[in-house]
Point group: C2
Chain length 489, copies 2
Amino acid sequence: MMNVLSTLLAPDKSGKLPVYIQIANDLMGLIRSGTLQPGYRLLSTRQLALILKVHRRTVVQAYDELLAQGWLESHTGNGTFVAKHLPEVRPVPIKQEGNKLTNPLKKAGFAFDKPAHLDRPVLKTTTRLHLDDGFPDPRLAPLEELSRAYRSQLLHGNPYVRLGYGDTGGANWLRRELSTYLNETRGLKTAPENILIVRGVIMAIYLASSSFLKPGDYVALDSPGWFGAAMNFQQAGARLCEVPVDAHGMDVDFLEELCEKQPIRMVYVTSHHHYPTTVALRPDRRIKLLKLAEKYGFIIFEDDYDYDFHYLSKPLLPLAGADQAGMVLYCGSFTKTMSPAFRIGYMVGPEDAIQHLASLRRIIDRQGDRMLENAIAELLQTGVIQRHLRKSVRAYKQRRDHFCELLKNELPGKVRFQVPDGGMAVWTEFDESVNLQTLAANASRRELYLSNGSVAAYPSPYANYVRLGFASSDLNELEESVKIIRDLL
Amino acid sequence: MMNVLSTLLAPDKSGKLPVYIQIANDLMGLIRSGTLQPGYRLLSTRQLALILKVHRRTVVQAYDELLAQGWLESHTGNGTFVAKHLPEVRPVPIKQEGNKLTNPLKKAGFAFDKPAHLDRPVLKTTTRLHLDDGFPDPRLAPLEELSRAYRSQLLHGNPYVRLGYGDTGGANWLRRELSTYLNETRGLKTAPENILIVRGVIMAIYLASSSFLKPGDYVALDSPGWFGAAMNFQQAGARLCEVPVDAHGMDVDFLEELCEKQPIRMVYVTSHHHYPTTVALRPDRRIKLLKLAEKYGFIIFEDDYDYDFHYLSKPLLPLAGADQAGMVLYCGSFTKTMSPAFRIGYMVGPEDAIQHLASLRRIIDRQGDRMLENAIAELLQTGVIQRHLRKSVRAYKQRRDHFCELLKNELPGKVRFQVPDGGMAVWTEFDESVNLQTLAANASRRELYLSNGSVAAYPSPYANYVRLGFASSDLNELEESVKIIRDLL
């Protein structure tokens, strides 16, 4: 056994794990695998220390560890033994076992399905320049104020209450501030009980899909549309019905025909700035959509991801404000207000639906980040967010105008687009002579991010379309970016 | 129509909403409801201002709003009209409509199921004293250090990258730090790819249930056990098999019999400090549990919610460290290290399973709080968390000892308990003469929180048991709390 143990136990003295823990772990593995059987008498600490060329104290520590854990028993004056109450276990080949012990596991020992709809690349932008999907510029965000507000939440007040469990629906302060804010600026008619704080629009869609869809339900959504919503409906087992979008948003007559053919449970719509095309849903279509919801009993999920960023005199008010029958679930987000890493959004709906969604949210992550939620509430109450919005809308309007001029003047004949009334991106069709994959790959080498279309995967009529986000770059960066594209075309 | 409009439009001049928005909203409601039909010519701004006793500019603003939104059309020199392209809509009774418009919606217009398992009260503790479920004392937590680290994450570096979208599996820095930390202190064998950052243990259970359970699957869990886990398994449609727990943890022989009768897909176990009883799973049972998992192919979900808080010489190493077949999903949390409001935990498992769980997490909330995750990584790297743990384990051990003495001396004959080897609560049986509901209600009036058992809802043999958390109170508070109970018994 001396030889065997010296092969089996080979602690790595330069490893990060203390040597005594390595020895204890390895011994435990040998006991577990049955190599060392219950009742087996171990080498004395002196002998083992000699074999392993370690200090005796190290082996004593390893044995102590295993004695404390019940793997070993000590019979005074007689030595140390593998504990008797361990069950009989079958020995397994030593070498294989030895290797496995030290390697992190790559593959699960159990089978599981990987639904195809979850298999989609994830975007991460690290280049210096970026014409992204339509993200805000965090350089404009009130980070200093947010940091102070967060600190104050963390350090002041009764920590047991402030840092304990809270409401699963979100911090009450934020729900109150948001209720006022949404009623005043978007014509909604909410009480705080109509609001659920979520971790971004995606969580609102997830909660609604999980709670209100059953496998086989029909969900209508715009085409082209947002894959993130589609992934959620597919995860809930829903069947997707695509509704075409034109210059005035979703074709509600087409939707009506769909409703005649099968029971539609939910309609997903980006009514204000349609994603990806940026068009607004025309008022008559809005009215008809609400009427259809009442007639056919479907839920309208209104995703208003970037409401605040509109450059005409007044944005359209959300559908939700005109919903008197309780058919609309509405959601918005601070992701576009601050930065994508701030996972704070809100969902608005009838009180009973919101309560139910909060009860599901409880078993997902219990509650949001209370400190951050309260910090955002403070910035709303003190008007910091509102001032920030006014400032950034001005900046983004200027960037939009400059960017559209650049596209027109620097890339003539290569791109077609409409100047968007709102949002943070231009829905751009590249000429068919342009290969988007090649362009994006070459741009990336020049430190410019540009979507190659693979994440969004628009349907074929839109194969050469891409959203070009202008909000996150300043005027110089926009110029640099467009020049790189010009050089590459 | 003058009379009608003066009844229909009654802006509240002291309301929070600007008067022009109130008028615009109300007019929109009247158009939507069909009271004002397409082509209808509106009163001039002067006339309407007279009727409503508001400044003419206010009405101009309201009309402008609706013109911009497309609800109205202006024919130069001829007046303002309800837009023609609006569809025919049926008028609805005016008074009812008027009321509805101003009230937040209470009830959804669509039907939905409310599963009974989600209907459970939520705990919120606001009393001065608390013998809670076993929460940490945030007064001991390194909040100042955390606040500084968070601020540094928020304000330093390239904000576009730092505050943009990141990995759905969690911040890479934290995964690296945790991998080292868990390998060194718990004998795990992880690479960062084996780790998924989650928002507390509950999210780990949610992800595993949603991904690896199908409706009808059998899940074995300990009884008594944690309702939060059971709620998740029920949400996934699983059938629950209860396995009794004794002084050495889950009865694995009973589990083996279960496995012979039906295919068990998952076994949920709190192996280190069993919840709620605080007992540890004995080593021989651990080995047998792992063997059973390999033999019957079930997943072991090892919930190690408060591993670090152990008061014997050495805690037992997790099952996960001995898992060579890839059957164990392991999770732990910073909730007990810092405070419940910090929704950061981690899940450890085979790389392919972790990747799959991250792909589901993407459509739930996209990613965790990157700033907080990186801040925690910094505190791990600089050893702040480790120092905090050593300090708080010393404090909690002292509190445990003092509290158990108090229970013994102040409440003789009224309570039975074992001094727990670890964790933050004493599993206490009150004498049958004590009515827990009454006791908790009376204690609450004396500013002491004590569970009345309604949230946990233990099975009947444990009807008069309750967890009494000692960690969140200092020695004086513990004395005060026990004296209140003594007075009330």
